[in-house]
Structure formats: structure tokens, C-alpha cells
């Protein structure tokens, strides 16, 4: 039935192999692009088949073991895949978006050196991401988990000749590794603690079937989940490990769209969803997750306020949105979290691709005019809506979605999160408040972005002004599809209150994911309780906040463009802090990076060379030195030799006769 599930990751892998090994020989960009895209598309088709099959299947959880991996009693790890609603959804998400972005890349990456490399990496990424979401045990997930990190590293450092790019790639990998450290520790602890109860396993199904053996809310569970959460913060760019994501914008834009918005960064959320049974047992961890998520949402949003690089704004926005997802997971709104994951994938991918389209155009123009202006700096843009209409429209739709304007996808998902944050048994009003403020800020900076880019006067250098083209169809087609999804995707999970309003429009997503989350939520009494009217009023408040944010943006960046400058002049220090990302990177450098380097140097040059090796050489020196001293007893004078004999005799007699 589902035994060909392994085909899904296989296709991208084949694509990777073909492009990676032969790409250099093929040379023809079209062929390379086609191979890459087709590989993903095939995988998408197979995914669709199985997904549909799953939809119609009453049995919702399927495991397929392909081969064994490590077998050492009591450890048994297989190469196996798991298909259940959650992984099915992710699988669809990944393959679908990936197909679109591959398509987009054909146009976007045109003419780049190492074109084949890009597609190979992208294919590899998709493969890894599929392993991540489809793995039936924690270790296969970890393969994908690290695999996507690797691809992220490779793709961020795609322009490896640029130091900032390779730095960013390395940073991404290392920070992710910090998270992986947590993941591994969590895994070890889990394996051990379950093993103590007689269940040696790392298979998700068995884990969730046996977690009840552990003490509910106990220390072990808390430690395990905290460790896993540390892993999630690394991958999903949460406080404290978020710093790599904004830097990751050094990669080509499709990469940002696919990896750093739609798929990889959501892995943490997915992982928590995958192990919801375990996390639900640790309320303390859940609280930590919610707090971290909320804080990240707010914190990243503040930084997003003052960035001028179009992609950086989107990057911080991503961090912020991921924060929402964690907030959702933290308050037990698993479905909402996954929902937001999906809608965010749609609109954020669209936003990134749209920004890519803009950059593409700007780059084209600057190139044409032989200018070296930054094509990503929004201060060089403005008024592009006329030059790039399709891009503008799709971008605007997605922005509306992210801002939470009613009936766009973002509205439904974000609103449900905020509602749960307030009303969940594990929620708190403060969490809601943080989320709401962040939502307002999001609306503000997103529209700031839109206004600065597409509205107002064209601030582009006059020489380049007239050479900004609309992107080709291969670029705009994915934009349009994504914009459509961003607009209507929310219908997947219409909240009950709204659904009831129009006559039992079901929350399809919740229903679909019920086999995964329902049991947990029941078991741990996680639910959002509140009257419909309360829910409505909250909805209204959040809409109001969003509108407020948009309006402020409109006032500041359309109506009265001098205003921002004035505000900045009033609070220069604050602005500088925000602009410089609250100096967190500098702080980390000072706290971790530099001390580690200094420690390394110290250990090497002082401890290792002087002390440890010095001791070794010192022993040798002492021995030789002793020899050199002793050597001078051999004076060559017969008298001395005779004397030594006599003294020897005297001493020996003294010792042995008069002992």
C-alpha cells in the first residue's frame, strides 16, 4: 500500500546525484533546471498520491521500514518512513513548495556560476527535509535534521568567494549544531529513561505509545523536552539561537524562501508536533516554549522595524513568525502551530520570492547602468508597483496575509494562536499581549516594506530607473500560485466560531490532524475555553491592531516620509540599538566566540606547548642536563677516578658493615 513511500525522498536524491555529478558536464542550464525541478515534481506527484490515499484511509499511521541501519542490542535503528497526517501534510508542503521554488530558480539563477551546484544542493535539501519529516524514528529525523543544516550551510555559502557568505554559512551550521547538541542529549536521555522502563526505542510510534511510562511532569521528561527544545531553537531560529537566520540571507533568494522561510526553519515546530505526547507531559517545558516563542516573536519584530535590507526585514519577520508557532506549541495549540506553519510557508515563501523578483529587477537595472548600488536596499527602491505589477500584487496579498487582515490565510492561523495563547489551559494573558503587540509591529514593518518598495517616489538612481523589468513567467508563476495559496490557504483551518457562522464550515486541518494531537490534548486536558463572543472580540482586537500598524506605516512612509527621520532623531540610541539588532551578535561574540577562541589559543600556545609538551621536553631536558652535569665527573684525571673508587668503598663499607 504505502511501500513505495521511499520513492518520495529518492527522486530529489537522484536529482541531486545527477546534477551534482554530471551537472558540470551538462552545462545547459535548461536541462539542469529541468532535472532539478522534475525530480522534485515527481516526488510531489508521489506525495500527492500517498497523501490522497491517506486521506481516504481509516488507518492513519503507517510505517515503512526500508532497511535496518544500526543494530546493536538494545539499540535498533531502521531506515524507515512514517506516514501520518502530520508528516503527510509536511511532505506535501515540502514537495509542493520545493517544486515551485525550483521552478522559480530556473529563472532567478539564470547565468549564475555553478548553476548546477545550486540545483544539486536544492535537491539535496529537499531530500534531507523529506527525511526529516518522514523519518519514522528520531535518528532518521536527525539525518534530515542535520542534512538540512548542511544544505543550508552549502546554500548560504553558495557565493563562497564572498567572505560574509561563507561566514554566514558557517555560523548557520555551528549554531544549528548547538541545537543538535540539545537534540542528541534529549534523544540520549529519552532512550535511556525509556530503556529504564524496559522499552529501548527511538521510534516515534513507540515513543508516543510508551511515554506514559515516564513520570508525568517529572524531571526526566522536562529535561528531555528541554533538550529537544534546544534543538528546535537552533533549527527554528528562536532565542537564543536565532542569530544565524538573518545572516543566512547571504544565500540566493530562492534559498531564503525555501529553507529559511517555508521548510527547514519550521522543523523545530514539526518536531515538537511530532513528539507532542512527550512535550505535553512537561508543562514546565511547554511554558518555556511559549515564553521563548512569544519573546522571539516580539523581539524579532522590533528588529524588523528598522532594517533597510529587504531580505533582512523578511528574515526577522520569519523569526518573529516562527516565534508565533512556538508560542502556539507552547500553549498546546498544536494544530494552530502547524496551521501557522503552513500558512506562513505560503505567504513567506511568496514574500521572499517576491523580494527576489524585486532584487532581480533592481539588479538588472543597476547592472544595466553599471552601478554598484545595493539592489536589496529598500532606500534605493520605491514606486515599483508600476514597473513590476505582478510582483507587486502577489507581494501585497502575501503582506496582507502576514499582517493578519481577515480572511487572508495569516489571519486564521495567527488569530487562532492568539486565542489559544489567551484561552488555553496552558496559556496566559501576557502571552496573548506579547503576541498581539508583535502582530501590530508585524503589520507595521511589513507595510513599511511594501510602502518603501512599491509605493511613493522612485528613489532609484536615475540612470537605472527605467530599466527595471518585470520578471519572466518562470518567476512570476510561482509567485502567483503562492499568492493564491496565501490568500486562500487559511480556509483549511477556519476556526469553529467563524465556521459556525457560515454554517458548519469545518476546521479541516484540525480534523485531519486529530489522530496526532487529539489524544494528547485529551489526556492532558489541553483546550482553549472561552465563549464565542470572547473569541470574536479578541479577533476584532487583533484586526484592529493590524490595521493600526498598517495605518502607522502608511502615515510614516507614504503620507509623511519625513516622519521616520524625525522619530529617529528623537531616539537615536534606541534606533541605533534596533538597527544593530540589539547588539546580540556582538554580545555572542563577546560571550562565546571570542572567549572560545582565546581559550583555544591559550590551551594551545600556553597549556599545550608550554605546559604539557613543555613537561615532556622538560623531562628530556632534565635528563640530558643531569647527564651534562654527571659528565663532568669524568674529569679525565686518574686521581678523581681513584677517589671515586675509594669513596665508593668507604660508603659501601659504612652502609653495609655498620648498618
Amino acid at each position: 500500500m504505502y511501500d513505495k513511500l521511499w520513492l518520495i525522498p529518492l527522486f530529489p536524491f537522484l536529482g541531486f546525484l545527477i546534477n551534482g555529478l554530471l551537472g558540470k558536464k551538462i552545462k545547459n542550464e535548461k536541462v539542469i533546471g529541468a532535472i532539478g525541478t522534475l525530480a522534485i515534481f515527481s516526488s510531489f506527484i508521489v506525495s500527492c498520491k500517498y497523501f490522497l490515499q491517506l486521506l481516504g484511509d481509516s488507518q492513519k499511521v503507517h510505517e515503512v521500514i526500508v532497511a535496518s541501519w544500526m543494530t546493536v542490542a538494545p539499540l535498533q535503528v531502521d531506515w524507515g518512513f512514517l506516514l501520518d497526517p502530520l508528516s503527510g501534510l509536511m511532505m506535501m508542503n515540502v514537495t509542493g513548495l520545493s517544486t515551485l521554488i525550483h521552478l522559480y530558480s530556473i529563472g532567478y539563477m539564470h547565468g549564475e556560476e555553478g548553476y548546477y551546484r545550486f540545483f544539486a544542493y536544492l535537491n539535496l535539501f529537499t531530500f534531507a527535509m523529506l527525511m526529516l519529516v518522514m523519518g519514522n524514528n528520531a535518528l532518521v529525523m536527525f539525518v534530515g535534521w542535520e542534512g538540512v543544516g548542511l544544505c543550508s550551510y552549502l546554500l548560504i555559502g553558495y557565493y563562497f568567494e564572498k567572505k560574509s557568505a561563507s561566514d554566514a554559512g558557517k555560523k548557520a551550521f555551528v549554531v544549528n549544531r548547538v541545537g543538535d547538541f540539545g537534540f542528541l542529549l534529549g534523544l540520549f536521555t529519552l532512550f535511556w529513561s525509556l530503556g529504564q522502563k524496559g522499552v529501548w526505542t527511538i521510534r516515534f510510534t513507540e515513543i508516543s505509545a510508551n511515554v506514559h511510562l515516564l513520570e508525568n511532569g517529572g524531571l526526566i521528561v522536562t529535561i528531555v523536552t528541554l533538550c529537544f527544545f534546544l534543538g528546535a531553537t537552533g533549527k527554528s531560529a528562536q532565542i537564543p539561537l536565532y542569530t544565524w537566520l538573518p545572516d543566512a540571507m547571504e544565500g540566493p533568494t530562492p534559498v531564503s524562501a525555501l529553507i529559511h522561510a517555508a521548510t527547514m526553519v519550521t522543523a523545530g515546530v514539526y518536531m515538537i508536533g511530532r513528539m507532542n505526547g512527550l512535550f505535553a507531559m512537561a508543562p514546565d517545558t511547554m511554558m518555556v516554549i511559549a515564553i521563548v516563542g512569544g519573546a522571539t516573536a516580539l523581539f524579532a519584530a522590533t528588529i524588523g522595524l528598522a532594517q533597510n535590507d529587504i531580505k533582512r526585514v523578511l528574515a526577522y519577520s520569519t523569526v518573529s513568525q516562527l516565534g508565533y508557532m512556538f508560542l502556539a506549541m507552547g500553549v498546546g495549540a498544536f494544530t494552530a502551530g502547524i496551521f501557522h506553519l503552513l500558512t506562513h510557508a505560503f505567504f513567506k515563501a511568496c514574500l521572499f520570492l517576491g523580494s527576489g523578483s524585486v532584487i532581480h529587477g533592481m539588479h538588472h537595472a543597476f547592472h544595466h547602468a553599471h552601478l554598484h548600488d545595493d539592489p536589496q536596499d529598500m532606500r534605493n527602491m520605491g514606486g515599483l508597483r508600476k514597473k513590476m505589477p505582478i510582483t507587486f500584487v502577489t507581494f501585497l496579498l502575501s503582506t496582507l496575509a502576514i499582517a493578519g487582515i481577515p480572511f487572508f490565510s495569516g489571519f486564521f492561523s495567527k488569530d487562532e494562536i492568539l486565542w489559544w495563547a489567551f484561552a488555553s489551559t496552558r496559556g496566559h494573558w501576557a502571552l496573548w499581549l506579547v503576541g498581539a503587540i508583535a502582530a501590530g509591529l508585524t503589520a507595521f514593518y511589513m507595510f513599511r516594506l511594501v510602502f518603501m518598495t512599491f509605493f511613493g517616489a522612485q528613489k532609484t538612481d536615475a540612470r537605472a530607473k527605467d530599466h527595471i523589468p518585470e520578471s519572466p513567467l518562470v518567476i512570476t508563476l510561482p509567485l502567483m500560485i503562492l499568492a493564491a495559496l496565501a490568500t486562500f490557504g487559511g480556509l483549511l483551518g477556519v476556526p469553529h466560531v467563524l465556521g459556525n457562522l457560515v454554517g458548519h464550515f469545518p476546521n479541516k486541518l484540525e480534523h485531519f490532524l486529530a489522530p496526532i494531537f487529539e489524544h494528547t490534548q485529551h489526556l492532558h486536558h489541553i483546550e482553549a475555553h472561552g465563549s464565542a463572543s470572547t473569541e470574536f472580540s479578541f479577533m476584532a482586537i487583533s484586526v484592529a491592531i493590524a490595521v493600526l500598524g498598517i495605518s502607522v506605516a502608511w502615515v510614516m512612509y507614504c503620507k509623511n516620509p519625513q516622519l521616520p527621520g524625525k522619530i529617529v532623531a528623537k531616539v537615536p540610541k534606541l534606533h541605533k540599538a534596533i538597527f544593530n539588532k540589539w547588539y546580540i551578535d556582538e554580545l555572542y561574540d563577546a560571550l562565546f566566540v571570542n572567549p572560545t577562541k582565546r581559550l583555544g589559543t591559550l590551551l594551545w600556545q600556553v597549556f599545550d606547548v608550554r605546559l604539557v609538551d613543555g613537561l615532556v621536553n622538560g623531562v628530556a631536558l632534565v635528563v640530558r642536563g643531569t647527564g651534562r652535569v654527571l659528565r663532568h665527573t669524568q674529569t679525565g684525571y686518574t686521581h678523581n677516578y681513584a677517589m671515586s673508587m675509594v669513596l665508593g668503598v668507604v660508603v659501601i663499607l659504612a652502609i653495609y658493615v655498620f648498618n
Binding site: H639, M643, V646, V649, V650, L653, V657, F658
Partner: protein
Amino acid sequence: MELLQLFFFYLVAFVAVVSGFCVISCKNPINSAISLVMTFFCLAIFYVMLHAPFMAAVQIMVYAGAIMVLIIFVMMLLNQGSEVIARYRHAVTGAFIAAVLMLIQVVVILKNGGVSGMVGPNTAEVVESVGHTELIGQAMFTDFLLPFEIASILLLVAIVGAVVLAKREV
């Protein structure tokens, strides 16, 4: 009688020690050599006192007669003048201290230990009656035949060696 013997012993011993001291202290090697001969004579007297007249004779013939003559001859040949004793005073002091320590040790050892009280067949009376030379000869050619033969080899070696070393050309 015994007192006289004792006195005589001390007298000879005194001479032996004094001449021994001259050996080590005379600046002129010839004087040292003469003193050494003196010591040898004293020892020969002791040998007689110890009922070993043959050894006394050998002592005088071999030591005083042969070896010392050889030494003096070489000394003359090399025509060495007198010498300062040693370059370093403290070396001399050290040597004295070491040697005196050794002496003290040996004396204390002798005092504490003493030698075997066993008396073999060749008591003074037997020696008197049989004759010392006879006894020596008897022992030498029966029990000590091998050492005697080895001694001959040793002397041969010494001759060959001396010739090899001392001749002027190859």
C-alpha cells in the same frame, strides 16, 4: 720475651709506617722508591717473625731486588725531577680523609669481627720441624699447581707486552 717481641714488632712497624709515609710524601721519586724498599725490608722482617722465612727471602729478592730495581731503573731512564704532590690541596685533604676513614673502618671491622680461630695443620711447630720452603714447595706443586702454571703465562704475557710497548719501532 714476649714483651721484647712486642717491642720489636712496634719498632719494625714504626719503621715500616714511617718509610711508608716517606713513600707517599717524598717529593723526589727516588727517595720514595728508597723508602719503599725500606718498607719491603720491614715486611720481610715480619714474614720471618711469622714463621715464613721463605716468603721473606722472596720478598727481598723479588720485590726489593727485582721490582724496585726495575722501577728505579725506569725512573732514572725517564729522568724525572721532584714534583709537587697534587694540584689541589683539597684533593690531598680529601684523599687523606677518605683513606683515614677507610682505615678506621677496617680497624673497627677487625675489632668487631676478628678472624677465624681455626688452626690448620701447618702450625708454627710444623713449619719449624718440616721447613718452610718444603711446605711451600709441596703446596705449590700439588694443590697449587695450576696457579703456578698460570703465573708462568702471566709472566710470558708481561714479557711480550713489555717488548711490544717499549720497543722503538714496529
